[in-house]
């Protein structure tokens, strides 16, 4: 590539002016007329048979247009909700329909819908439904769920076991045979609730005489929603349009085709009216999927010098009541445990379990934070057991630069990177040796300081079409259409569907840089399936490396065609024409140039084009990357724990990330900040807790604690750049890295602080009461 001026520039986001003035358009903000409001009546029972639903009183309530039970709607669905392969083709799963008919399996499962003239009227009427349940025993605990004699959620499966699979590489027996040190540890990944600040929402408008459906949805995946609404409701795909307007955060929670999207569309079809559903927060807490929810049993074989030889682990994954669309995606952790380290062997077992809880699916990182958490905890457990410093343990085990591209035990090919570089930088930033001395001093004074390292390696950029077929059942790619207008302005349609990331700005930067167009002349369009071909939408830190590359390649194609037209206009040979900064000229005669605007004008006048050339300047690219991209980095947390209250205070948080070329560092840093905060949320605050009765105990934002401004420190961020060889821009991904790294960094610091108490591992979140109990279970004495 030419030397960049725009790619890599911290340009403020073009998305912002509307959002900071309150003139943005989230689903609930869109001007709509003639709306009917839908209220979804949800199961209050975790596990029960529906004996009957009496809707008579509700139907008679003021302002009510219709009430439908699941039974009344069942015949309308031509397919259940989609379930993808997600790394576990072996799994057994039941068909999952958008609404329950005769049995409910989690609190929050839809059982009926009420349609009324106002939202208030719909809520009032919902209270008048008489639903009779016959309670069944709830299955809450994963291990009890797969024990003999447990009540079974899905009779047709015979048990609550969705799968029990092995994912292994190398000689694990040899690794344990050769080990000096063997460690066993149970490590939990608590259930998390994503809490995008905008809850979900849908407006559906079905036009009966055209058999055409338009849906506005707060989704990460408008293109997939379009396909599946067509399939489930039996409407030709060409007649379905899905729009993702401004979307208020997703973090994976808006990555699937949801029951309410189908129900609103169906209600619109039944009533011939435009139907709106907006999710309440307390509804969101149980109706939108959860994440993580895993137990890991880990065994480690290591040498006394800190070399980790092998890891054997079982991941129990709580799928909740149904297998969600990407419900087993978190099993990707079984392929990634190795991280940036040279293990001799990995022996993984994955067990998926159905329980009477909200289904789980992708949440920021989806399997990668878990894999990182396990291997990073392993590194610290080995350090603790061998007495080797945690930084030294990591160095000893790192894959070296000269071993790249490295093939992992699971057959994945890492793209590039010297993993010691980010660690060195982070250690330097915290003055590591000095810090360890201070820690020792403070320990003498009775203060509990902990230092936690997390040297992560991430896989992202979904992705190579063949490989993603194993992940999602279909091959992925990047897509961009660049269309130059008569006056030289440009419209860029992208296949990604941002929901806060800010794709418009860096993608415009790529085009501006490549074509020499002014930034403001490039309009970026996304999230509307009526415009442009199928896109693959946004998740898994894929957009910059895959769709961003498609943007770049489209711009290159436009540039090359422009050069051909310029050669014709300049009456020169094509190979003599230079294109730079939006102008084309014959080599050596820069003053006699034609501008891109002049070229575009010519492109729409066939008589000014070379013979045989098609008119117009628009190019579409489908980019199928040859590999994933593999960002990496080192994060260090320094914490102090108040031994009287158990409260953790994060004193410093240092992050050094290498995500390849940074298209717009302002945006990259923002992604890192937010990611770190979410990972800290898991480490210290968040916990989706169910009672033994199957009721969600943390069902509001009063009980489910997401971090506030006063709970977080300033993060110190630095970056290194190892361009990815996978794409011409050298871009990796950064949307999830912060979350992938930070949970382990903080928990390693907490465990380090408490190591004088004989503590090896702490279940997250590290709440004050939990730490206090750990510190004082021996009457406050340190071992």
């Amino acid at each position: 590539m030419a030397i960049s001026t725009l790619i890599g520039a911290s340009i403020k986001r073009r998305e912002d002016p509307e959002l900071i003035t309150g003139t943005g358009g989230f689903v609930d903000d869109l001007p709509q007329t003639g709306l009917v409001h839908m209220y979804v009546v949800r199961s209050t029972e975790p596990h029960a048979r529906i004996l009957g639903i009496d809707t008579a009183r509700a139907r008679q309530a003021d302002g009510v247009l219709a009430v439908f039970t699941g039974k009344e709607l069942a015949s309308e669905f031509q397919s259940p909700l989609p379930v993808t392969v997600s790394f576990v083709p072996e799994k057994k799963y039941p068909p999952h329909y958008p609404i329950a008919t005769d049995r409910v399996r989690y609190v929050g499962e839809p059982v009926a819908i009420v349609l009324a003239q106002s939202r208030a009227a719909a809520e009032d009427a919902a209270e008048r439904l008489d639903i009779r349940y016959e309670s069944l025993p709830p299955v809450v605990d994963m291990e009890k769920a797969i024990a003999p004699g447990a009540p079974v959620l899905h009779d047709e499966l015979g048990s609550n076991l969705a799968y029990d699979v092995k994912r292994a590489g190398g000689d694990i027996e040899a690794a344990f045979r050769d080990a000096d040190v063997r460690i066993s540890q149970r490590i939990r990944q608590q259930r998390l609730i994503p809490v995008a600040v905008e809850p979900r929402g849908v407006v559906a408008d079905y036009k009966p005489f055209a058999n055409a459906l338009t849906v506005w949805s707060s989704t990460q995946i408008p293109h997939f929603v379009k396909v599946w609404l067509a399939v489930i409701l039996g409407i030709p795909e060409s007649q379905v349009r899905v729009v993702a307007p401004d979307v208020g955060g997703g973090f994976g929670s808006k990555i699937r085709v949801y029951p309410e999207e189908v129900l609103a569309a169906l209600a619109s079809r039944k009533l011939g009216r435009r139907v709106k559903w907006i999710e309440d927060r307390s509804e969101n807490m149980k109706a939108t999927h959860h994440g993580r929810a895993q137990i890991w049993d880990v065994e480690v074989a290591a040498r006394k010098d800190g070399t980790v030889l092998g890891v054997r682990a079982t991941q129990y994954l709580d799928l909740g009541a149904y297998c969600s669309q990407f419900g087993t995606f978190q099993a990707i952790a079984l392929l990634l445990i190795q991280g940036p380290y040279k293990l001799q062997a990995w022996d993984g077992r994955g067990i998926g379990v159905y329980t009477n809880k909200t289904p789980t699916d992708a949440y920021r990182g989806a399997g990668r934070p878990e894999a990182t958490y396990i291997i990073e905890r392993v590194m610290d457990l080995v350090a603790q057991a061998t007495g080797v410093d945690p930084a030294a343990v990591r160095r000893k085990n790192f894959i070296r630069q000269e071993e790249q591209p490295f093939t992992s035990l699971m057959g994945l090919t890492y793209d590039s990177g010297d993993y010691s570089t980010t660690l060195d930088k982070a250690l330097e930033m915290v003055s590591y040796q000095q810090l360890r001395k201070e820690q020792a001093e403070k320990r003498k004074q009775g203060k509990h300081v902990g230092i936690g390292l997390s040297t992560y390696l991430e896989i992202c950029g979904l992705g190579p079409s063949v490989a993603t077929t194993a992940a999602a059942g279909i091959g992925f790619w990047g897509m961009a259409v660049l269309n130059l207008h008569f006056t030289g302005k440009a419209t860029l349609v992208i296949g990604s569907s941002p929901h806060g990331q800010g794709h418009e700005t860096p993608f415009a930067q790529i085009v501006a840089e490549t074509l020499g167009l002014p930034l403001e002349d490039i309009d970026v369009v996304h999230g509307d399936t009526a415009i442009g071909p199928m896109g693959m939408d946004t998740y898994g830190s894929r957009s910059a490396s895959v769709d961003g590359t498609a943007v770049y390649l489209s711009a290159v194609k436009v540039r090359e065609k422009a050069r051909k037209i310029a050669a014709h206009l300049l009456e020169a040979a094509e190979e003599d024409v230079v294109y730079e900064n939006g102008k084309a000229y014959v080599k050596g005669s820069p003053t006699k140039a034609v501008t891109i605007q002049e070229i575009t004008g010519a492109a729409f006048q066939p008589h000014r084009l070379p013979a045989g050339m098609e008119g117009g300047l628009d190019e579409t690219t489908f980019f199928n990357p040859p590999n994933f991209v593999w960002p990496f980095g080192a994060h260090i947390a320094v914490v102090e724990i108040d031994d009287e209250t158990g409260r953790v205070q994060i004193q410093r948080y240092v992050a050094v990330d290498d995500c390849g070329t940074r298209l717009n560092p302002l945006i990259v840093d923002g992604q890192i900040h937010g990611g770190i905060a979410q990972g800290i949320g898991q480490a210290l605050f968040e916990d989706g807790v169910y009672g033994e009765d199957g009721q969600l105990k943390t069902g509001t934002l009063v009980d489910y604690l997401i971090p506030t401004a006063s709970d977080l420190p300033m993060f110190e961020t630095e970056s290194l750049v190892t361009p990815s060889p996978t794409n011409p821009l050298g871009v990796k991904g950064i949307g999830e890295a912060g979350t992938i790294a930070s949970t382990a960094a903080v928990m390693n610091a907490v465990a380090d602080a408490l190591s004088p108490f004989g503590v090896k591992d702490i279940d997250m979140p590290a709440s004050p009461q939990k730490l206090w109990h750990l510190m004082h279970k021996n009457g406050g004495s340190k071992r």
């Binding site: 403020k12 986001r13 998305e15 912002d16 002016p17 509307e18 959002l19 900071i20 003035t21 309150g22 003139t23 943005g24 358009g25 989230f26 609930d28 903000d29 208030a120 809490v195 995008a196 600040v197 905008e198 809850p199 401004d246 979307v247 208020g248 955060g249 973090f251 309440d280 927060r281 307390s282 929901h499 806060g500 990331q501 800010g502 302002l666 945006i667 840093d669 923002g670 992604q671 900040h673 937010g674 990611g675 770190i676 905060a677 979410q678 509001t700 934002l701 009063v702 997401i706 506030t708 401004a709 006063s710 977080l712 300033m714 993060f715 912060g738």
Partner: protein
């Protein structure tokens, strides 16, 4: 029973019949048609619905419209003067103080109150001043920076306004 309420929102008088249970946030969004004020929870936790009512920031999901009868309300739409952004809006843009933007209107309204009461807040005072507003995207880092930046801009502007008459006379 419906009640007639009248209030001034961003300098414009609005008057409607409402059910007493109508929350101020719904009145602002649905009757006045100002949809910049958002709803992010139902427990007064998230602050997305923050507006200014008679000079005080309030969570408009926890006020009935009938309680605001006769009030002066300012929402996010009332901050910019023509195309001139309020210093807080400008700073949120300049410092990348938002990502998805859903919490942003409420966050800016809370920050406005904070700076009115404390024009030169420390980092910790800023963090406590926005403790009633949840953001899931930014980790708050650039929000804190934006508020610091806005405080400087506003102090400089106030300085100019104070000095200006002296310079003229």
């Amino acid at each position: 029973m419906r009640h007639r309420v009248a209030m001034t929102i961003n300098g414009t008088q609005y008057e409607h019949e409402v059910e007493p249970r109508t929350l101020l946030v719904y009145y602002i969004r649905e009757q006045a048609g100002l949809t910049g004020t958002h709803i992010g929870c139902d427990t007064s936790s998230c602050g997305a619905c923050t507006v200014e009512m008679d000079g005080h920031s309030v969570k408009s999901c926890t006020v009935f419209a009938v309680q605001a009868d006769g009030a002066q309300i300012t929402t996010i739409e009332g901050l910019a003067v023509g195309s001139q952004l309020h210093p807080l809006q400008q700073a949120f843009w300049d410092e990348h103080g938002l990502q998805c933007g859903y919490c942003t209107p409420g966050m800016i309204m809370a920050a406005k109150q904070l700076l009115e009461r404390n024009p030169k807040p420390t980092e910790q005072e800023i963090r406590l001043g926005i403790e009633g507003n949840l953001c899931r995207c930014t980790g708050y880092q650039n929000i804190v920076k934006a508020i610091e930046t806005a405080a400087r801009t506003m102090a400089a502007q106030a300085g100019k306004e104070v000095k200006a008459p002296a310079a003229v006379s």
